[in-house]
């Protein structure tokens, strides 16, 4: 076993180094600029850095390399997740056009880049140490990001997130320790060892580990943090968090799940939780009056759909989970972009009531919002529709027909919640509520990009083939 770091190892983490190092550049420019660097400069450097990281990651797509002795696995799986993470970071960053104080922009951009780095690390992490490293890097930066707005709610959100998420990290770490005790190794590959099933440490460790994962994925009943945190955090941060945390954690979960022999009995409760999330998340959406909370609960349910795709740990299931994740990214961030256009610094646009009569005031914006909500509900011709049918096919194929049935039931419920917003926008009996008329060209561009991809993905369903989460 070689003990030194090779050239290949460095190459494998170059995208991470670009993103992480780019953050330093943003800060340095801010320091050298007379007073503070303007918002546009920070954002431009941030987006440029992310583009570079994404482009470099893309060049490694076909390669499969086991860097740092199995600590970081390069390959199609990691790259696809990294691309999704980078793209959502870019889209979220583009929403910052109208949020946050100018003088804090460099710091915000840097934190966002570090958070992205953490998530990218999670995408390739294949041993317990790197998983934790990635998760903490992602989370620590996010705690700060949640609190960057000058509102009490924002700071409250940061504190809540810090406390609850640290608890989850504790669970995860404890589970990891027990798993290490059971296998004597930190690599996920050691979970494949025969005879583990007889060891109670393995079951306990796996259980704690999965509780931590369920927490980060905000699956019911471990979701309680997400609506509060989403509501308080600045809008672009919420958008970022809703996709990137899920993407990173889903990658970790997939590596774990696919490493277990034949799917593993250990996972069955996890799929039950996914089923509960589909129903519960959608039910909870019905009661919301704040759009960010609504999207938080929607995220609970959508995470359930993605996990359901992995039931049975089939090769196809992984592809469809990724497909749905990408679809969710575009649908969800598209919706956030519209909210961002409607919101000023106080985020009054995030109230569902702010959408009253939008169809008359700003018909194109209303049409775009309807489109994203319909996509989230799974209406055709959107990637949400095709994603659902692919997940249904994968679950039926893997013998988890009950999950497919729950998905259908959950979707039926969700329809009512999404259409509640739609009705407000188009009801002619409602007087339009006055709203700010902001112009946010970047957010418009982001929304247009999202809409285009939601349609393109429906008719050209690219599901890359080498996306199995290798651990060895």
């Amino acid at each position: 076993m070689p003990n030194f770091i090779t050239h290949q190892d460095w190459l494998a983490i170059t995208p991470l180094l670009i993103a992480g190092g780019g953050a330093l550049i943003v800060l340095l420019v801010d320091l050298l600029w007379p007073k503070h660097s303007p918002r546009a400069v920070s954002l431009a450097i941030g987006i440029g850095v992310l583009l570079a990281a994404g482009a470099f990651a893309a060049t490694t797509y076909g390669r499969s390399y086991n860097a740092f002795n199995g600590g970081f696995m390069l390959g199609g799986f990691a790259v696809v997740f990294q691309e999704i993470i980078v793209l959502s970071a870019i889209l979220s960053l583009s929403l910052f056009g109208t949020f946050g104080r100018d003088d804090r922009m460099a710091g915000i951009t840097a934190l966002l880049l570090w958070s992205t780095t953490g998530a990218m690390l999670m995408a390739g992490a294949a041993n317990l140490m790197t998983i934790f490293l990635g998760l903490e890097l992602l989370s620590l930066a996010l705690y700060c990001l949640c609190g960057v707005a000058d509102r009490a709610a924002s700071q409250e959100s940061a504190l809540k997130y810090l406390i609850l998420s640290s608890t989850a990290s504790g669970f995860l770490l404890f589970g990891m320790a027990l798993l290490f005790g059971a296998t004597g190794s930190v690599t996920l590959a050691s979970l494949m060892l025969p005879g583990l099933a007889a060891n109670p440490l393995y079951w306990m460790g796996g259980g704690f580990f999965l509780v931590g994962i369920a927490f980060k994925l905000s699956l019911m009943p471990f979701h309680v943090w997400s609506p509060d945190v989403y509501e308080g955090a600045p809008l672009p941060v919420t958008a970022f968090m809703s996709v990137v945390t899920k993407a990173g954690t889903l990658a970790v979960f997939a590596r774990f799940a696919y490493a277990l022999p034949a799917g593993g009995k250990l996972l069955l409760p996890f799929f039950v939780i996914a089923g509960v999330s589909m129903i519960g998340g959608n039910l909870a959406m019905l009661a919301q009056t704040d759009l960010k909370r609504l999207l938080a609960y929607s995220g609970v349910a959508q995470a359930g759909y993605m996990v359901a795709a992995l039931a049975g740990a089939s090769a196809l299931g992984m592809r469809y989970a990724i497909y749905y994740l990408a679809a969710y990214m575009f649908m969800n961030l598209g919706a956030f972009a519209i909210v961002a256009v409607l919101s000023g610094e106080r985020e009054e646009g995030a109230q569902i009531a702010a959408f009253r009569g939008l169809g008359q005031r700003r018909p194109w914006l209303a049409a775009a919002m309807s489109f994203f909500l319909l996509a989230l509900a799974g209406f055709p011709p959107t990637a949400g529709f095709l994603g659902k049918i692919l997940i249904l096919a994968a679950t039926v194929n893997a013998g988890y027909a009950w999950l497919a049935a729950l998905l259908i039931a959950g979707t039926a419920i969700s329809l009512y919640a999404y259409f509640k917003v739609l009705r407000l926008m188009y009801d002619p009996h409602d007087q339009p509520a006055p709203g700010p008329r902001t112009s946010a060209p970047l957010a418009y561009a982001g929304a247009a990009l999202c809409a285009a991809f939601v349609i393109i993905m429906t008719f050209y369903p690219l599901t890359p083939s080498n996306v199995l989460p290798l651990v060895k």
């Binding site: 592809r319 055709p380 049918i389 039926v396 194929n397 027909a401 497919a404 039926a412 329809l415 009705r423």
Partner: protein
């Protein structure tokens, strides 16, 4: 070519939204031109407008595959004709929005009726719910109606989606409409149940019909003409092109349940139609009754009955579109839909009354008009298939149909004039232009149903 049929109306509908809000003439002209084009295109284009592109290769093969062969052609023509008539009949301050939505509805349903792939079918199934939903939001009187319409039908869409996924996974391909192979296995009855639920909601069958009366009563006349005439046929069409060719044996396992529901719908619809006073509701419930007969024909799986079902699908489409348009004219003139407040209109506007009479007589199955041809062939087929008692029971609502349709005619056209309203003009030229094609088609199919039968069963 089939793609043009789908995309042209949708694109035209979107384009109309660029016109100013109150615009009336251009949207009507452009809309009717587009609808007329979609009627002519399938008649002149060769080989069914075949269009196919691979869509999915895993977990099952699926294709964006469209064509208008077999029964599709008749539904495509019916849809284009009804849309044309509905657009010509549209005459309100919100012409632009209504015609735009009508065109979008047409495009979505064109996709449904030309789909050769079950997944594409499912896609358009959900999509076609959106234009009527917005129409109900915009012009309906109760908010709940739009919701009920959408929740019921989208639930059906979801079971359809699940059934499609299961069908695709187990049989390997959904690009199958137009072919025939029996799909067996322990899952088959449940897959059929998934499809059948969706189709039964859309048709509708009792007890899944509760969304229908309010929806039909509150949609503006041009819209309800298309929805009741064509969209309600989507479920029946689904039974014919999906359930019969692939899941006939599973359908046989459920047949008594379906026969029972069809008979209840037949009787229930007819009896409730007798008690209604709202003109649109009378026709709505009569629809429930008539479509129950078609379900009965399909579930008997007898080739003659299915031919009859196709004729009756077209016939029902023609007369219900005509009836709803004409009722719309009356509503516009009298500002009421209640038969209790009407009477003696035959003397005031005789041409309109004449058109009304033809449509109503077709609905009650007068020989020589399209309804009769369909009913007769269906009953013969159902009887031949060995469903003696169901066929006999199905005769009762046909008799009752005469009662409620004649009552509808008598209460409005005959009798004393109850109120004096100044704007009671007779059928205008534009209005006549909208209903004349429907009435002519009713007569043509009634006298020469073979034209339809021969083309459908080649």
């Amino acid at each position: 070519m089939a793609l043009v049929l789908i995309l042209l109306p949708i694109a035209a509908g979107c384009a109309l939204f660029l016109l100013p809000r109150g615009e009336r003439t251009i949207s009507r002209l452009a809309g009717s031109a587009v609808a007329a084009l979609t009627f002519v295109l399938p008649l002149v284009a060769q080989n069914g407008g075949e269009f196919s592109v691979r869509w999915l290769s895993r977990p099952f093969t699926a294709a964006l595959h469209f064509a208008w062969t077999g029964p599709s052609l008749w539904l495509v023509l019916l849809l284009a004709l009804c849309t044309y008539c509905a657009i010509v009949a549209t005459n309100t301050a919100q012409n632009r929005s209504m015609i735009a939505l009508l065109l979008m509805l047409e495009g979505c349903m064109m996709g449904l009726f030309t789909a050769r792939d079950i997944l594409a079918f499912a896609l358009f199934w959900d999509l076609m719910l959106i234009p009527p939903f917005f129409a109900l939001i915009e012009w309906g009187t109760h908010r709940d109606t739009a919701w009920r319409f959408l929740i019921y039908n989208f639930s059906g869409g979801l079971t359809l989606l699940l059934a499609t996924a299961a069908f695709g996974v187990l049989s390997g391909s959904t690009d199958v409409i137009g072919s025939t192979h029996q799909f067996a296995g322990s899952w088959a009855p449940w897959i059929f149940a998934g499809f059948a639920f969706a189709f039964a909601v859309k048709t509708p069958l009792w007890p899944l019909h509760t969304w229908m009366p309010n929806t039909y009563a509150e949609l503006p006349p041009p819209f309800v003409a298309v929805v009741s005439a064509v969209q309600s046929k989507a479920g029946l069409y689904g039974f014919i092109v999906i359930a019969l060719p692939f899941l006939r044996t599973s359908m046989a396992e459920w047949r008594w349940l379906i026969v029972a529901l069809a008979l209840v719908s037949l009787l229930y619809g007819a009896f409730v139609a007798l008690t209604q006073t709202d003109m649109k509701r009378i026709v709505a419930y009569s629809s429930l009754s008539h479509l129950g007969l078609i379900v009965l024909a399909i579930v008997s799986a007898n080739p003659i009955a299915i031919k009859g079902a196709l004729v009756y699908i077209v016939a029902h489409g023609l007369f219900s579109a005509a009836l709803f348009l004409i009722l719309g004219y009356y509503e516009e003139r009298e500002e009421t839909r209640s038969v209790l407040k009407l009477g003696g209109l035959g003397a005031v506007n005789p041409k309109l009354a004449g058109a009304f009479t033809i449509a109503a007589l077709a609905a009650l199955g007068l020989p020589g008009l399209a309804g009769f041809a369909g009913e007769l062939v269906i009953l013969t087929g159902v009887f031949r298939a060995g469903y003696f008692w169901p066929a006999l029971i199905a005769l009762i609502p046909i008799v009752i149909a005469s009662a409620y349709m004649l009552r509808l005619l008598q209460d409005t056209i005959n009798g004393p004039q109850l109120a004096d309203i100044p704007q009671r003009r007779d059928l205008t030229f534009a209005e006549a232009l909208a209903v004349a094609p429907l009435l002519a088609a009713l007569l043509y199919v009634g006298i020469y149903p073979h034209a339809l039968l021969a083309a459908v069963m080649h």
